[in-house]
Amino acid sequence: MRRILLAALGVLAMLVAATASADDPLVYATIQPAQILLGESAQFTITNLGDGTNPINIPVVSGLKFEIIGRTREVQIINGTTLPSTSIIMRVTPQIAGIFTIPAVTPKAQPLVLQVNAAASGASIPHPSGSSAPIPPPILSGGSIPKGVRLTDDGSAYVRLSVPKREVYVGESVPVEIEVGMRSGFVASINGMPKLTDDDFTLNSLSHQPERTEKLINGEPFVLLTWRSTLAVIKPGAFALSAEVPLTVKIRTRPKQQSSLDDRFGDPFWQNLFGATVPKDINVTSPAQELTVHELPAEGRPVDFHGAIGTFSIASDVSPIKAEVGDPLTVRMRITGSGNFDRVDSSMLDHLDQWKTYPPKSSFNTSDPLSFSGMKTFEQPVIASKPGVQELPGLTFSYFDPNTRRYETARSAPLTVSISPALADSRSAPEPPSTASSSENKYAAGLRADHVETSAVSSLVPLYLQPRFLAVPSIVVLAFAAGWLGARRRRGAGEWESGSDRIASRAAKRALAQMQAAARAGDAALFFEAARTALQPLLASRWQLEPEQITTAEVEGRVGADNDVRQLFALADEAKYSGRKLNATDFARWLRIVRRQLMSDKTP
């Protein structure tokens, strides 16, 4: 609103001045805002409606600092009359608080008033209108194009690659900055992210949203986009490194000499307005930078070097410092510094006597968007296996320092902890806990009284599960198994003998059956032959002879001539050749004699 009002006043003043004297150039000044805080700046503009040949004096006010930050040229059309104007833009910075009167730039102009309030106290000088001062717009800072950077042929853009060092090592991370300067109105768009022209380098952690600033370079407004990243080197060698950015720029379609508007105003607005430019895609490349990449030296490389390159320091601690056997402790190692933290690694403590160690976990804290500097913390759980005052050895971390060009090993001090015996270890006859201070606790009230000590055993494992006791039932089982086998063998022998008897009995029964059959048939020869066949095995068994050896003469020699058995053998021989006949009574008699012999275990 204030700007509109000021513009309207300016135009009104122009019209009044034009009617008053058309020949006199009109010069007027404005200041925005008219009220600021100490430490802020205001924009003071002197506009000359004319050919701009009249000299303009920069005002001098005690307590105010005036700096020219830019010049503009415009064309205004008033009542059909083209009126060019030139403006000088200055930054006004107050040195002290107060009310300042800026003298008129021409004798006919009015002086301007600037109110500067003290920022700390917050007490502002009352403004006549009672309205607060608006926030001042950003003011472009002036400057020239960075050294070693060249603009494109049409002056629309440039790219600058900033590498802080010329010699690096393979694996090292180097923070770099890529700045793209685009002249306002000349660049239509950016068509991609910046990239390096050499494939042997990579850009890590490249920010997707570049930092944006505006700057006057050689008096022309430029938009500056700045990307930050870390450069990673893949292989050794000498390289010419540059960065490129794809842009779409607006180029002239007519020679510069034929563009009167451009000659007159030099402003792209007029070129666009009259169709004097067309878009064109180009790649803007930064000037090449020589970079030498070295291999890491093999000499002096520590065993625990994991590829960390940079400048680091370490510190360690353990918590808690008092614990029981079996309680987990946490050992921490903090590595701070700058470098390639992705290669910062450590196995910390490993294979310690009387300690059980676990693999460490790591976390990285940084406020650096590139993760180039910060602190990496390793946490390792450890468990003490024995009581006493224990000392954890100092931790080490090895890295390569590119500044000193050698391997370094950072060391931390040993850590001391106090380990007390575990509460649960009651195997070794623990001392009963003190009860003096805890007699009031809820567990003590209803307990039954203690017992008198009795004999002890060496283990709580049930006796039948103890290996040395298991020998006893094993021996018992083996002994009784052996006894059972012995008894069974003895019984088996008796059963063999009785089995033989049973077999002989069966043969005798068969012989008796044959004899009975022969008696019924009246065949004396068959009768006596069956009788002799039945008696021969029996007698052979008794006399320890072969059955064939049991003849009439043998029987006679052993039992005498009058024995029934001898007579039976003799009758058997006789009946075989004589065909002697027997009556039923004789058959029955000799059958009884044979049966008696077969059933008796005595010698005939």
């Binding site: 029981e324 056997v325 079996g326 309680d327 987990p328 946490t330 059980k356 676990y358 976990k361 946490e379 759980p381 468990i383 575990a422 509460l423 649960a424 009651s426 195997r427 006859a429 009963p432 806990p433 003190s434 009860t435 805890s438 007699s439 606790n441 809820k442 567990y443 003590a444 307990l447 039954r448 203690d450 017992h451 000590e453 009795t454 004999s455 002890a456 055993v457 060496s458 283990s459 709580l460 494992v461 049930p462 006796l463 039948y464 599960l465 006791f469 006893v472 039932p473 021996i475 018992v476 089982v477 002994a479 009784f480 198994a481 006894g483 059972w484 008894a487 069974r488 003895r490 019984r491």
Partner: protein, 214 residues
């Protein structure tokens, strides 16, 4: 002759096992230790030592009474043994072990006598039945005590049960001090436990103690 040799061997072994060991475990010592822990306000260690005392003297009324009392005071649910457990633990494992050996001897003698003679069949049958009963009692005692041999007692209040056997493992739930848990596996200073409710997870060795000392 052979039977006499076996008998002498058994007598010698029994005498050796009956000899007292001053630095070992005894039911009275464990019971008194448990009482001390209970008076000191450490229910976990008290319950642990009552459980250990009950292994040596399962029918000691004082041990059982104090165990129930401390469990109730620690707001732990009461444990009531079933009939099988009561019968199987009618005697201490020490005497049950020797009863088993005696049962084996009775059965063996009966079997051998049956091989040698067929007389006194009823007497032999009675002896065999008695011996088998003794052996069965020993086996039942082992079956009843077997789960307790693989159990532990939580000795720290609010013990975290973790999802993995590492100190930084995510906690699943916590166990109260004095809770009895089943130990399923062990790994690197941690034990995989299972609660009566069937929940399982890993707890640090320092937070529990097995009923059967290692």
């Amino acid at each position: 002759m052979r039977a006499a040799w076996v008998f002498c061997l058994l007598l010698g072994t029994l005498a050796a096992y009956s000899a007292s060991e001053p630095e070992g475990y005894s039911a009275a010592r464990l019971y008194n230790l448990a009482n001390s822990y209970a008076r000191a306000g450490k229910p976990g260690m008290a319950i642990l030592n009552y459980e250990r005392a009950s292994l040596l003297s399962p029918n000691d009324p004082d041990v059982q009474a104090n165990l129930r009392y401390v469990r109730a005071s620690a707001h732990l649910p009461a444990e009531t043994p079933d009939t099988f457990e009561r019968v199987a633990t009618v005697a201490s494992p020490f005497w049950v072990s020797w009863m088993g050996v005696l049962g084996l001897m009775l059965v063996g003698a009966s079997v051998i006598l049956a091989q040698l003679s067929s007389r006194h069949r009823l007497l032999r049958a009675a002896v065999t039945l008695l011996g088998v009963s003794m052996v069965v009692l020993t086996l039942c005692n082992a079956l009843a005590l077997w789960p307790r041999l693989h159990q532990g007692v939580v000795i720290a209040a609010g013990t975290p049960v973790r999802v993995s056997p590492v100190p930084m493992g995510d906690p699943l739930f916590t166990l109260p001090e004095g809770e009895k848990v089943k130990i399923s596996a062990e790994h690197e200073g941690f034990a995989l436990i299972e609660t009566r409710a069937g929940r399982s997870g890993w707890i640090a060795d320092s937070n529990f103690a097995p009923i059967m000392p290692r």
